[in-house]
Symmetry: C2
Subunit: 200 residues, 2 copies
């Protein structure tokens, strides 16, 4: 599984083979069972993650006790909480594994040491953050203007596998609709397209 990380480093840095190997050797990769809570809402995270395999859901419990799914992360996406404005830097979200997953686990305490040792790693993670920022901006912008059906179609177009990988009530929450509305949309689209593009 570390080979994926090695390939990723080759793609995004110009590090020597030796340096890449040194980074991969130092980095902690671990399997996590489906259902594992990685970061808990209102707690201060000590770790950040990078997905080699699997799927992680981001959600929060709002004031009325409703669960709101705000993202799904899959292969080659980073998971980190940025709450510089909060004194305790606690997380506004819970992150849990939707599937059995294999993740790179980064230690926020030793992050700076790694960057000092390998400055290219700092540029690479900066780029990863910029990329995530660009993505969430684009998703937000698309969400504002689209109807639930348009949102579902866009998701099918951009991340077709995701639709079958996650529980449907969580997917509905992510789309800002009820599970019943999602069923109706899927039924409507199934009737329009042969063969169906997703499981019923």
């Amino acid at each position: 599984m570390k080979r994926i990380l090695y390939k990723y480093l080759s793609r995004w840095t110009t590090l020597s083979e030796e340096d890449r190997q040194a980074i991969v050797d130092q980095i902690h990769v671990a399997p996590f069972d489906k259902g594992t809570v990685l970061i808990r809402q209102d707690e201060t995270p000590a770790k950040c993650y990078f997905i080699l395999k699997g799927c992680v859901r981001q959600f929060s419990i709002d004031e009325e006790g409703r669960e709101v799914t705000s993202n799904f992360y899959t292969e080659e996406q980073a998971i980190a909480v940025f709450n510089h404005h909060k004194p305790d830097r606690s997380s506004d979200y819970t992150f849990t594994c939707v599937e059995d997953s294999v993740l790179v686990v980064g230690d926020l305490d030793t992050e700076q040491d790694m960057y000092d040792k390998h400055p290219q790693l700092a540029s690479m993670t900066r780029r990863m953050i910029e990329e995530s920022y660009g993505q969430v901006q684009a998703e937000f912008s698309a969400f504002i203007e689209s109807s639930p059906e348009e949102r579902f179609k866009a998701l099918l177009g951009k991340r077709p596998a995701l639709v079958d990988r996650v529980p449907q009530h969580q997917l509905a929450s992510y789309l800002g609709i009820t599970p019943e509305s999602l069923s109706r949309i899927k039924k409507r689209l199934r009737n329009d397209s042969h063969p169906p593009k997703f499981k019923s």
Copy 2:
């Protein structure tokens, strides 16, 4: 106006007075008239910005020609386009000044030189990006779960001045509703609260 920048650097870095002054001296600050287009959709930006005074709107024109407002930036917020996945790195959004504004103008070509000269500047901008990322994540999450009226109330709570600073049809677009719906919501809230918290 450069004093604001100087204070910002004092707050977020441990640079010496001399280094701070050197950065402030090198940095380009310019006034922009209301209506100025800073970055145009589908063009590759050469600059990034940081607002010392004023307000900048981010929007895009969708496939059906509709204008979708996806953000408003005000004092001490950074404006940058991150599109690493696009070969030409062109912007998905247009950014225009909603008010006469004073902005720090960063040159993307010489950005790396500035970071090499002042490594703390790299950490500071990294922090700024992380902060913006955290903000847009939070806004997106809140948007998914809330009704238009809840969204408007949340905006009044978090950024009360903004509501009076921007054209109402753009504000409506940002809230994902029609200008008529926004008027109705404002009227309803005005009738509920004395004195009114915003201009009619």
